[in-house]
Amino acid sequence: MIMKILFFIAQLAAFLLFSPFLSGLIARIKNNLRMRKGQSIFQPYFDLVKLFSKENVVSGTASWIYRVTPLVVLSATLTAALFVPIFIFSSSASTAGDFLVLVFVFAAGRFFMALSALDTASSFGGLGASREMFISSLAEPVFCLAIFALYLEFGSTGIIASSGFHNFTAASFSAGLALFMVMLAETSRIPIDNRETHLELTMIHEAMVLEYSGKSLAFLEMAGHIRQMIWFFLIAQIILPISVPTFTCNSSVIFSAAAWFLWYAGRIILVAIAIAVLEVSVAKMRLFRAADFFGFGFILAVIAVIAAIIKV
């Protein structure tokens, strides 16, 4: 029991400590690819610290929904982070939920984000909420069908089942690609959304958090980083299944821990690099083209299902 709780805390700590780094890394790579010097990789940490010591400005029209949202979103995201099998030995961590539960936990955070965006009576918030719900509605069937393909392939909806111990199959690969497209939407990346701009024509996520400041904004930013890391992790597990380095008995604990860490971190960073390259090389899509984008994702998921059925 104590071991389990320790693993829980370790997993939370891993997400809390490591997730802002990924955002910083992506921003840096993007800047360097654009021939700019770019910010420090650790800029997201500085931002969080800065936000935490800033004054909190609350809109006069806002109600308690606006106040609890950062808390709900962050807690829901962290709960979701616990479902992810980083510490594979603590497999009981994922008895709390499976892949399908994860879909709905993310939905819970999104629900409150959208409500808080409407709460301030700003039309920016309204358009952000409307677009976010629209995009997520399109992404959801793709998400579900990709999980369905993984289910057919591995015989369980548990995240554990697709924890990277499987072989590389056509089904898992194309389901992973479909999930990759969902991830681009869920983590507000180009071509669906762009976090770097505050132009009302394009912004989705930024429009929703426009009114937030200080500690509340820090919470929401943190939740965004963690959600992104969960997604990277899942994608890495599904698309890049590499079996765990086998340890012989005489290899030291430190060595095995290091190998294990590299195994996880390396693949997550690979996904982050892929995202960064993708973001500088494609343009943002018009909002209503998102339907086509997810249509393609859906077809990928269907292919994954068929591949899983005929056991390619």
Binding site: T120, A129, M133, Y151, G155
Partner: protein, 605 residues
């Protein structure tokens, strides 16, 4: 029990549903009806009593004829409740549409029952069940279609849903709450009793048809709900969506019954019954909340509301809980049943043939789409109604509703977390009922161990613990809340919402419900066929004085199915006039001819 009544587990289940919804609604109605005259109030309560009573008896009768009698009492008493507010012409029209549709359903139902009677020579359920085993396939198919049409009309399955968006908004809120929470579920009871039990699932296509109808209903229902700005009509359309979800798992259960796989049939049926009771709870709660909002603002148009969360804290909190449940947010009850439905499709796919695997996958994906759209719909419903600034004077002057109305709502909202977090303890009970009603020799499947849902069945592994999840969530939330309150800058300032530096924002600058649903309207334009009406009033060629802009969506089913059918019916009726010249001799001749034909027909059959 005796010749007429049998109380079986399924009946008890529906009694629970009736009780859970009716009691809070009745309490709610005491204050809700306070403004009307005492005589009218008494009549309404009497009719309500008959309505609820008829449903209570309906689920325990043992005889098809009695079933029909109580079915009709239910239909007529609810009709009188719908039209109780006779001051509006709209209400009367809604009532007419409702009673016409529901009687049409009864026609199919009666036809189906009479065909079975031809074989059983009795209206007793048990004898009818026995007689059906020897019935030829094509007759069974025919009876199934008749039952599906009959019960489908009551359930509001697309395309038989026409009455629902009329009757629910027109009825007083506590009545819509019972109608939507319980009455439309009676159709599910009917299907379970007459198709699953009496007729027995005979062909695979029955289940598949039910699934597809459910799928279409859920998508059409939620898309219409998303477009609507009348809060009660929005809820009515969302009922169509949810009954669609219920039908999907019901159909899945039928498919597995035909496949002779008791485990999966029962699993799907558990999902079906659980979603049924959950929907009964949250939908009646939402209708009661809508009634409170209507009482406070005397409008049902959400575009005229806003800011009510500050004026009506209790109502808004209750509506929020209901909205969260219906949007399937964990760990509330709507989520658990939707998750179970998805699991039924997922796990079921492991044991069926390839074509069905793909079909189930598509169903699961569409279910996910539905639930995401439902979340969007209820973000709109809650956000536009309760948040931001009031959009009209009515909303500005709204006051919280009286105690008894609040009591009804709070009672129902307490049920939501109970049925969500406590689902582990409720499912064994449900599993017994589903095992009983599935038609297999009563089997009992276990879905839970300790505090989690776990199945040991090979090919159907899943695990999830709402309680554990909620505990983890609360611990994290407490820690985060502590961090928020005690660390970092404590400075806080209240200021205006950012207005781009121009002028102070008014309620006219807010996002509206119509604007919120615009992306959906465009994405589903192939089905919604939106059109707009613009009108310019010019003072001169160069100066437009006023400009009005209205946007509509085409109600496809009404325009392309019901309107032509109605026109054709009128046409036929007019041409039938010719055989009614008013001569009594001719009429007597008609009666004789009819009798002769009937006798000949009965001989033939």
């Amino acid at each position: 029990m005796n010749k007429w009544l049998t109380l079986d587990p399924l009946g008890i289940f529906f009694w629970v549903v009736i009780a859970i919804v009716s009691l809070p609604s009745a309490i709610f109605s005491i204050d809700y009806l306070k403004t009307s005259k005492i005589s009218k109030r008494l009549i309404m309560w009497l009719v309500l009593l008959v309505f609820v009573g008829s449903m209570t008896v309906l689920v325990v009768v043992n005889n098809a004829l009695l079933f029909l009698v109580f079915w009709e009492i239910m239909a007529f008493s609810s009709y009188f409740l719908v039209v109780s507010d006779t001051s509006h012409e709209k209400t009367v029209r809604a009532g007419t549409i409702y009673i016409t549709m529901t009687q049409l359903g009864t026609v199919f139902l009666t036809a189906g029952l009479l065909i079975i009677f031809k074989y059983s020579n009795s209206f007793d359920f048990w004898l009818m069940h026995r007689a059906c085993t020897g019935m030829p396939h094509h007759i069974k198919n025919l009876v199934f279609i008749l039952f599906l049409l009959g019960f489908g009309t009551k359930a509001g399955i697309v395309p038989l849903h026409l009455w629902l968006p009329y009757a629910h908004p027109a009825a007083p809120s506590h009545v819509s709450s019972i109608m939507s929470g319980v009455m439309i579920k009676m159709a599910v009871y009917g299907l379970l009793r007459f198709v699953f039990y009496i007729l027995g699932i005979d062909s695979l296509w029955w289940g598949v048809t039910i699934i597809i109808l459910g799928l279409i209903s859920s998508l059409v229902g939620i898309i219409y709900a998303l477009m609507d700005k009348d809060i009660k009509r929005l809820l009515a359309y969302s009922s169509i969506e949810n009954i669609g979800v219920i039908f999907m798992s019901l159909g899945l259960s039928a498919v597995f019954t035909r496949f002779q796989m008791p485990y999966f049939a029962v699993l799907a049926l558990i999902a079906c019954l659980y979603h049924l009771i959950n929907h009964a709870i949250f939908k009646s709660l939402l209708f009661l909340c809508a009634g409170s909002v209507y009482t406070a603002t005397s409008t049902k148009d959400i575009e005229k509301m806003g800011g009510l969360i500050k004026k009506m804290p209790y109502t808004s909190a209750c509506f929020l809980i209901g909205a969260m449940a219906i949007a399937a947010l964990p760990p509330l009850n709507g989520f658990v049943s939707e998750w179970l439905t998805l699991q039924a499709f997922f796990t079921g796919s492991a044991v069926v043939t390839n074509g069905y695997k793909l079909f189930f996958g598509m169903c699961a994906a569409m279910l996910a789409l539905t639930s995401a759209l439902a979340a969007a719909c209820f973000v709109k419903a809650f956000g536009i109604t309760f948040l931001a600034k009031p959009r009209s004077r009515h909303a500005e002057n709204a006051l919280e509703v009286p105690t008894l109305m609040r009591t009804g709502m709070i009672a129902l909202s307490c049920m939501i977390p109970v049925f969500g977090l406590g689902s582990i303890f409720i499912l064994p009970w449900l599993s017994g009922i589903a095992g009983y009603s599935s038609g297999f020799t009563p089997i009992h499947i276990t879905l839970s161990s300790g505090f989690s849902f776990v199945t040991a069945n090979p090919g159907a592994k899943f695990c999830f613990s709402p309680i554990a999840m909620f505990l983890i969530f609360s611990l994290i939330a407490i820690a985060a809340g502590f961090l928020y309150l005690c660390r970092g800058s404590k400075k806080e300032r209240s200021y205006n919402t950012w207005d781009c530096g121009y002028y102070t924002l008014g309620s006219r600058n807010e996002y509206t419900g119509t604007a919120f649903s615009k992306p959906f309207r465009l994405a589903f334009s192939f089905f919604l066929l939106p059109y707009r009406k613009t009108q310019k009033v010019r003072e001169s060629f160069y100066f437009v004085k006023t400009f009005s802009y209205e946007t509509y969506t085409t109600k496809v089913f009404k325009k392309y199915i019901y309107q032509p059918a109605l026109n054709a019916a009128y046409k036929i009726a007019f041409s039938m006039r010719r055989i009614q010249p008013g001569s009594i001799h001719l009429y007597l001749a008609y009666i004789v001819i009819t009798a002769v034909i009937l006798v000949a027909f009965m001989r033939k059959l």
